[in-house]
Amino acid sequence: MNGEPKLRVVIVDDEELARQVLRELAGAHPELEIVAECANGFEAVKAITELKPDLVFLDVQMPKLDGFEVLELTGTNMAIVFATAHDGHALKAFEVHAVDYLLKPFGAERFERALQRARKRIGSPPPPLTQLALAVRPPGQYLDRVVVRDGTRVHIIPTSKLEYVEAQDDYIAIASEGRRYLKQQTISSLEESLDPKCFLRVHRSYIVNLEQVTNIEPYGKDSKVAILKNGTRLPVSRAGYDRLRNVLESR
């Protein structure tokens, strides 16, 4: 048996020549096995969820999904090494517990250092997932879309089409255009990344898109119910009703 166990590697970059650099540098290490090369975020999500690699080399700016959105959908249960020409994402990379951040162009020496760091990380417990969604959002900005993974399929939901969100234990259900998408995230962390001018937490378990609300009716003694354009009735708590009234009155 060899001293070191094989590391299964996925390379994600939309530029062929950039993948080529990684392929070549990894080729010098027999313990690395490249199990997939992906040219965009969709392919990356599919490859990572199916193949569960030990190590991912990830570009940030890619078509469809950027590197951080990919991680939001796949989780970070592997060593992540970013490889990008932009030095502006380093802080975010640190927040998602990336083991290293390679700035293009990079050579064999820098690659090896990243590999050493990755080896140290592999085998240690994965960082908690909840912080990921926060890291994806640029500071001072709100999400303009939510990404959801369904098996290996990826759905991109523009927040304008997001009707409401329901908390279900460790998951949230996102309702959009007649469908419900499940995502592993807490409702509070999603609430923080949505624009408070458009979305409101009307109940411990519900966030609603204010554009969708047509009516609010009393329900029982203390609570109310919000009626959405599509007919859905959502419970509104007392605190939620106060917040709702504040927002609607200030409009």
């Binding site: 939309d14 530029e15 062929e16 020549l17 950039a18 080529q20 650099v21 070549e24 040219a39 965009n40 969709f42 700016q61 078509p63 469809k64 020409a85 932009h86 700035l103 293009k104 162009p105 990079f106 050579g107 303009d144 879309r145 991109i156 523009p158």
Partner: protein, 352 residues
């Protein structure tokens, strides 16, 4: 803003200038046979009164500026205003004299022949003198404004050129290109060398162009082609280009770095976001003294433009506006999954 009333120093100068004018009036009164005492009593009131009234001469002057109003209008306005003000002064003089007449010692003031005619005539003359003075002030102010605006425009133009230069060489473009070159070194050394040279040519040309204010379109197109050659190596078949340029158009002159930022924008926000890539269609025509640059590219409408986007476009728009003003037209708009930019400039053929 009244140039004299609102400036204490101007007011002081105005009052000082009235001293010789009053002395002149006094001399005329003396010449018509008034005693020193009578002159002092008359002018002690009438001269300061007219000094105040002549401050009003500013308003007709401001309403009919020398540069814009026609000479007929200016003459008519000035004459009418002079008659009204001088007439009013004469009217006040009549009242004042009739009040003075009630005193025994001053009886006979009004008996001097032609006194009111003299007051009216002097009133007209003095009014016109002050109108001329206001026109001098107005002209000085206008030329100062003009100079100020010219300086501002120069500063603005230089700033935007500098910014153009800074925005121009996108560091990520360089780093990504260098990364591609490093990839090529082992698989295709010849192409790596070619790419190095093209990149160097592009950088040198960009730095050189930033110094110029106007270049032939052919030179800008060369720059664009170098840029596209480098990007084509990075993006491969994902980057498609269709180019249609009129033979007459290449001789037209344009400000440098107008076209290249448009193409770069199309790559950054179009090609780079589409897995299958995108096509950039560039068409340049010269017709009826107008140079029209039309560019369109596919983009992913689901991706909201991030903050940095549009800086290149805004910069191009700004520089065109500074250089051509209303003679140029810049339009950029998304239509479905196509992004279109249209620029129309006056077609000039020689380097001025």
């Amino acid at each position: 803003m009244h140039p004299i009333l609102s400036h204490p120093r101007q007011m002081l100068l105005y009052l000082v200038l009235w001293i010789p004018l009053t002395a002149l009036l006094g001399y005329l009164f003396r010449a018509s046979g008034y005693s020193v005492q009578e002159v002092a009593i008359l002018l002690g009131v009438l001269a300061p009164l007219y000094a105040l009234m002549c401050l009003l001469a500013w308003y007709p002057c401001r309403a009919t500026p020398l540069q814009r109003a026609g000479s007929v209008r200016i003459a008519a306005t000035l004459t009418a205003a002079a008659v009204v003000i001088a007439g009013t002064w004469m009217f006040f003089a009549m009242i004042y004299v009739s009040v003075l007449e009630s005193f025994e010692s001053l009886r006979g003031l009004a008996s001097h022949a032609g006194m009111y005619r003299m007051i009216f005539g002097m009133g007209l003359l003095l009014y016109l003198v002050w109108a001329a003075y206001y026109y001098v002030l107005l002209t000085m102010e206008a030329s100062r404004q003009l100079e100020l605006r010219a300086t501002e425009a120069r500063v603005l133009a230089r700033d935007s050129e500098l910014r153009a230069l800074k925005a121009q060489i996108n560091p990520h473009f360089i780093f990504n290109s260098l990364h591609s070159i490093s990839a090529l070194t082992t698989v295709d050394a010849t192409r790596a060398r070619e790419m190095c040279i093209t990149l160097a040519d592009f950088l040198r040309a960009t730095l050189g162009l930033g110094q110029k204010t106007i270049i032939p379109l052919s030179e800008e197109l060369d720059l664009v082609h170098r840029y596209l050659t480098v990007e084509k190596i990075r993006f491969g078949s994902r980057l498609m280009i269709e180019e249609k340029v009129d033979d007459v158009a290449v001789d037209c002159v344009i400000p440098p770095l107008i076209l290249q930022p448009l193409v770069e924008n199309a790559i950054q926000h179009g090609v780079a976001h589409l897995p299958e890539g995108a096509c950039i269609r560039l068409s340049i025509t010269a017709k009826d003294d107008r140079l029209t640059i039309a560019m369109e590219n596919n983009f992913d409408p689901e991706i909201k433009p991030k903050k940095r986007s549009g800086i290149g476009l805004a910069n191009v728009r700004e520089r065109i506006a500074i250089r051509y003003g209303d003679a140029a037209n810049f339009q950029a708009a998304a239509d479905g999954d196509l992004f279109r930019v249209n620029i129309s400039l006056p077609a000039a053929r020689s380097i001025a």
